[in-house]
């Protein structure tokens, strides 16, 4: 059986969970079991059944602690005889995936971007060198934990019926205590965004980000920036993409006034479509882009914003 970790965020399953379900339902298996911690509702559970999940095992709410999540999840997973567990490479997935692999005595692969290839054992493709390369890796243990990069796996519907079971297990007291949580309300998290509008030093100063945000809002996009922009405090560090920032893989990446240094490209070059806007025709970004516009961002962006207002729903 294939298992997926169904991370709950504000009572809902994010798209990355549906991607994990799609991954699992395409593997040759006799069923997909989802495991979740915390409470959700029937509509959300039915959403999983649309993507091939036959059974969901729910575990009552506990405050997040990677050690305790691992303890209880690994018990629930072992009870269901899971050979392969799929989870998303979100921050939560990164905290528990490696731990679960030890608890389950499993092989672990993170940043996975392909379905397994069974021709030579069990192997997967993963991105390495911050997107500058790919590696094929064979997972040699009987049990496997696979963490997939968001936006790498197409959603595949496979409607089925779903049964719900509750798993009761004792956990020890959390050793880590969460004292406060701050979430940017209404913002699309960068790592999960399908469209990202990003800007660099070419925008001259933080006061000019209004048009970047306006375009992002019109496109339903998250905003990002280059390293110097976050270093200078023009934008929060959480927006910094690149080799030493966040690696992203959106369907569309629009880079405005960013030169296209190798360290920046490393974090964004796996994006499906890249648009570069730069006043310098020699900017390296044009070599990595699918679509380019040479010109002054302060003249170009207003045109694009106007066209978006006119043509998009």
């Amino acid at each position: 059986m294939i298992g997926i970790y169904a991370e709950i965020s504000d009572g809902k399953f994010k798209k990355s969970v549906l991607e994990a379900a799609s991954y699992a339902n395409q593997m040759n298996s006799n069923g997909v079991v989802a495991f979740c911690v915390g409470s959700t509702n029937d509509d959300e559970i039915q959403k999983l059944s649309k993507y091939g999940v036959n059974k969901i095992v729910t575990i009552g709410s506990i405050s997040f602690d990677s050690q305790n999540y691992t303890q209880i999840l690994s018990k629930a997973i072992q009870k269901e005889n899971i050979q392969t567990l799929i989870l998303a490479n979100t921050y939560e997935g990164k905290s528990i995936g490696p731990r679960l692999s030890i608890a389950l005595n499993a092989s672990l692969a993170t940043n996975v971007i392909s379905l397994p290839d069974m021709n030579q054992g069990f192997s997967v493709k993963r991105s390495v060198f911050s997107g500058k390369g790919f590696a094929y890796v064979k997972l040699i243990k009987d049990t496997k934990v696979i963490a997939i990069t968001p936006n790498s796996i197409d959603l595949i519907e496979r409607p089925t019926s779903i049964s719900i079971e509750n798993f009761d297990g004792a956990v020890s007291e959390n050793k880590t205590n969460i004292t406060s949580t701050h979430k940017a309300e209404g913002k699309i998290p960068l790592t999960e965004a399908e469209i990202v509008v990003s800007a660099g030093r070419g925008l001259k100063g933080p006061e000019n980000w209004g048009m970047v945000e306006e375009l992002a809002n019109l496109l339903g996009a998250a905003t990002a920036c280059s390293k110097p922009v976050s270093d200078m405090g023009w934008r929060p560090h959480s927006e910094h993409v690149g080799q030493t920032g966040i690696t992203i893989k959106p369907n569309l990446y629009i880079a405005i006034g960013i030169s296209g240094a190798i360290q920046h490209l490393a974090g964004v070059s796996s994006s499906k479509v890249i648009v570069a806007i730069n006043k310098d025709p020699e900017a390296p970004f044009f070599k990595a882009a699918d679509i380019g516009i040479v010109g002054d961002a302060f003249e170009i962006l207003p045109q694009i914003i106007a066209a978006a207002k006119l043509n998009l729903n």
């Binding site: 990677s66 731990r99 692999s101 060198f129 390369g133 064979k138 701050h182 479509v273 516009i293």
Partner: protein
């Protein structure tokens, strides 16, 4: 406080990545190696904590002898001593098992890793090591401090940040924004020459995976240019041709 900083040695960020021997090996020819940027942060933070609260900072690397110049750099930045496990890193499980062994035999209070290494980018070691040791862990930290007998962390979570406290021992991984990395000065470089760097032979050889093939991303087709005066066409192309917007 006894602090262990796990450090990986990685290709410089400007490296053009290529592979040799039928794409089965990373081509190290002409590559400059550096301290993994996240480990530079955890090292600096460990030194700051030790300076403030008293304590020692040990750097541990799983790697062959060619990593020693980079380990010396960590000593020059201010680590007290270093341990090199003489093994070629094969996968996360192997590296974490070897590091866990060091932690078990030395009673560290705090173990720091980077959020990920920029070569194989597993982002695995912090969690693997924590579970092997049965320790609590706090991943992707933008703040790591020892205050009033407890560790205080701020970490990135999906769509925001979170503050977390934990008593020692604990393992944490460093994220950008943790601190400004220290650069070695002349005095540090001189001192580093005589600081202890012990080499130990691996006594575990467990792996969970085997890398057997690499490839580079496919080269992009030539960029399609849109005239600056027709920039609004971009929306049309993305919507009606590429069908990425609606």
């Amino acid at each position: 406080m006894k602090i262990l900083v796990c450090m990986s040695v990685v290709p410089d960020t400007t490296t053009k990545i290529s592979f040799i021997e039928n794409n089965t090996k990373f081509n190290t020819q002409g590559v400059q190696f550096i301290i993994n940027p996240y480990d530079e942060l955890s090292l600096t933070k460990a030194i700051e904590i030790a300076e403030k609260n008293g304590g020692t900072v040990t750097v541990a690397t799983v790697g062959l002898s060619d990593t020693e110049p980079v380990i010396r750099k960590a000593l020059a930045i201010g680590a007290n001593d270093a341990i090199r496990v003489n093994a070629e890193p094969k996968d996360g499980l192997q590296v974490a098992s070897l590091l866990a062994d060091i932690v078990k035999s030395n009673a560290y209070d705090l173990v720091l890793t980077g959020r990920e290494s920029i070569d194989y980018n597993g982002g695995q070691i912090c969690g693997l090591l924590a579970e092997l040791l049965s320790w609590p862990a706090v991943n992707v930290c933008t703040k790591i401090e020892f205050e009033n007998g407890n560790m205080q962390f701020e970490r990135d979570i999906d769509g925001g940040r979170q503050n977390v406290t934990c008593s020692l021992p604990v393992i944490a991984s460093a994220q950008k924004d943790l601190c400004e990395p220290r650069i070695p000065n002349m005095k540090g470089i001189m001192a580093a020459r005589t600081k202890p760097l012990s080499v130990i032979e691996p006594n575990i050889n467990e792996t969970g995976s085997e890398y057997f093939q690499f490839e580079n991303p496919v080269a992009k087709q030539a960029v399609r240019m849109i005239d600056a005066n027709q920039a609004g066409d971009l929306i049309n192309i993305l919507k009606n041709e590429i069908k990425i917007l609606s």
